[in-house]
């Protein structure tokens, strides 16, 4: 919507797409001319937790395939784990569209890296640093990418597992989780993770935590993927479901013997 006076300006700047904002005088696109600058966001389609652990040969990531639209479990085949280049895996919770945008940025980054054709390739540390800068700078412009990212990889025998979130908080750890996983899975990791777990032990630990999340996180779906990254490369498993247990005697008739409660 343009004010009448500004239509003349538009003719003058036929090929320009930017004008000075009436309030701040700063450069801004036409579409924002009559609005106060605001990029406040709410996430619309969100993914829930992603879990990550280091193990003997590399790093394991796990996430379910759900995309919630508010309180509806709308999409049940959203792949939230993606391989980046040769050495890294990225998992994301939060806004799915922002995750897709991040993957696009990273695809461009890897492409340029490949084009150098110098025998060198971006490892997990480098990708993590790139994502830190990206997320932090977007946050500083009050236009964040609404995600919490888990980044794992192996390069030259060095295992790496780190996380970045939408405000730019980042760190490296032996086990990480996003969202609800922080409350439900991290305590289990702190108790049961140990150095140099085998692949089977690692998967068992991740599945144990995914089961707790399935029971207690309302936005979890029973369709998960486990991704593995080692020196050889990245593999993401086919989606599968885990077995839930509802046969507790106490659930069959909760109020027997306690008539008067519900």
């Amino acid at each position: 919507m343009l004010a009448a006076a500004q239509k003349d300006e538009k003719k003058d700047q036929a090929l320009k797409n930017h004008v000075g904002h009436p309030q701040t005088g700063r450069d801004c696109p036409f579409t924002l001319l009559n609005s106060p600058i605001s990029h406040t966001q709410y996430p619309y389609v969100t993914g829930t937790s992603v879990l990550g652990i280091k193990y003997k040969d590399g790093v394991l990531l796990a996430s379910d395939m759900g995309g919630s639209y508010g309180s509806t479990l709308r999409y049940k085949s959203v792949q939230r784990l993606k391989p980046i280049g040769k050495h890294t895996l990225l998992g994301a919770g939060g806004e799915i569209s922002d995750f897709q945008e991040i993957v696009r940025y990273l695809d461009e980054l890897i492409l340029y890296d490949n084009m150098w054709d110098d025998g060198n390739s971006l490892g997990p540390k480098e990708v993590h640093n790139y994502l830190n800068r990206l997320m932090y700078n977007r946050r500083n412009k009050f236009n964040p990418l609404w995600n919490t990212l888990v980044l794992g990889g192996v390069k030259n025998g060095q295992k790496y597992l780190g996380t970045v979130n939408m405000i730019g908080v980042h760190y490296e750890e032996n086990h990480v989780a996003t969202g609800f996983g922080n409350h439900l899975a991290r305590p289990i990791f702190r108790d049961e993770w140990h150095e140099d777990m085998t692949f089977e032990e690692g998967v068992k630990l991740l599945e144990k935590c995914m089961l707790v999340l399935l029971y207690r996180d309302r936005s979890a779906v029973n369709k998960l993927q486990i991704a593995k990254i080692t020196e050889e490369g990245a593999t993401i498993s086919e989606p599968y479901a885990i077995k839930t247990h509802w046969e507790l005697e106490a659930f069959k008739n909760p109020a027997t013997g306690a008539v008067g409660s519900w």
């Binding site: 409350h183 439900l184 305590p187 935590c209 909760p254 109020a255 306690a258 008067g260 409660s261």
Partner: protein, 273 residues
């Protein structure tokens, strides 16, 4: 309308009048005084012979730990105990009140109290205060109908469960329960799992800390194990104790005031009546 037969009691009952004023003040930026909350991880589980309750021992006032070793497992009846999370004053008052009511009821009926009685008294009290009494409770006990475990929320809703956690550390404790609970555990296994769940809360939640209290209730018997586990000992304690020998403190100046000079001894008669 003529005067109805229903009369409000002249005093007592919660007056909601000031709530609107408080909301208005809060909107204007006046900070309400912080109360002592019990932060907390409280858990309960049903094992083969009865019920085990567990709690941490940290009480917080905002960001400060005000009591490092408080008691969160409250006595309700010889066969019923109740863990409380939320505002400490509310949990204490409400459990004390219902405990007295249960005792009077025992005298009136001549029978052992039942867990559902305590449950109903607690939930109807909390419901009538519409959530303003901030008490979240885990109630457990064994009566003539068997072992029972319930959770009660501040608004007055209840759940009957085989295992339950409440408080800020409830997710950390529930992660332990969900991954390790089985039906029909023995007493040792039950206590071990309760300790693991409370420790998970202590080490992963900021509102919980210090020690683990456990209470085991079985048919006809209860064991209140205060400070069953102390996973946070003071690390650096001098084995020789702390002594401050002469010569360790620098003396800057000395002034001696003999007190004898100020005392006058008067020889005289004994006091007359």
């Amino acid at each position: 309308m003529a005067n109805t037969a229903i009369e409000l009691p002249p005093k007592g009952g919660f007056s909601f009048d000031l709530c609107r004023r408080n909301e208005m003040l809060a909107k204007k930026g006046v900070q309400s005084p912080s109360f002592r909350k019990t932060g907390t991880t409280i858990v309960g589980l049903v094992f083969q012979d009865g019920v085990i309750l567990g709690a941490d021992t940290r009480a917080t006032e905002g960001p400060i730990v005000c009591d490092k070793n408080c008691e969160k497992i409250h006595y309700m009846a010889p066969n019923i105990y109740c863990c409380g999370a939320g505002t400490a004053a509310d949990t204490e008052a409400v459990t004390d009140m219902v405990s007295s009511q249960l005792e009077l009821h025992r005298y009136a009926t001549g029978r052992e109290s039942r867990v559902v009685t305590a449950l109903t008294l607690l939930k109807s009290h909390l419901y009538s205060y519409q959530g303003h009494v901030s008490a979240a409770l885990v109630l457990g006990g064994v009566d003539c109908t068997g072992p029972h475990l319930h959770t009660i929320y501040p608004h007055g809703s209840t759940d009957t469960l085989p295992f339950a956690t409440m408080g800020s550390g409830s997710l950390a404790a529930m992660a332990m329960f969900e991954s390790r609970y089985r039906e029909g555990m023995t007493r040792e296994e039950g206590i071990k799992l309760v300790c693991q769940a409370i420790c998970s809360g202590i080490f992963n939640d900021l509102g919980s800390g210090s020690n683990v209290d456990v209470c085991v209730i079985t048919k006809g018997q209860k064991e209140y194990l205060r400070n069953y586990e102390l996973p946070n000992p003071r690390t650096y304690v001098s084995s020789k104790g702390y002594s401050f020998a002469k010569g360790h403190t620098e003396v800057l100046s000395t002034k001696i005031t003999p007190l004898k000079e100020h005392v006058k001894i008067i020889e005289g008669d004994a006091m007359e009546e």
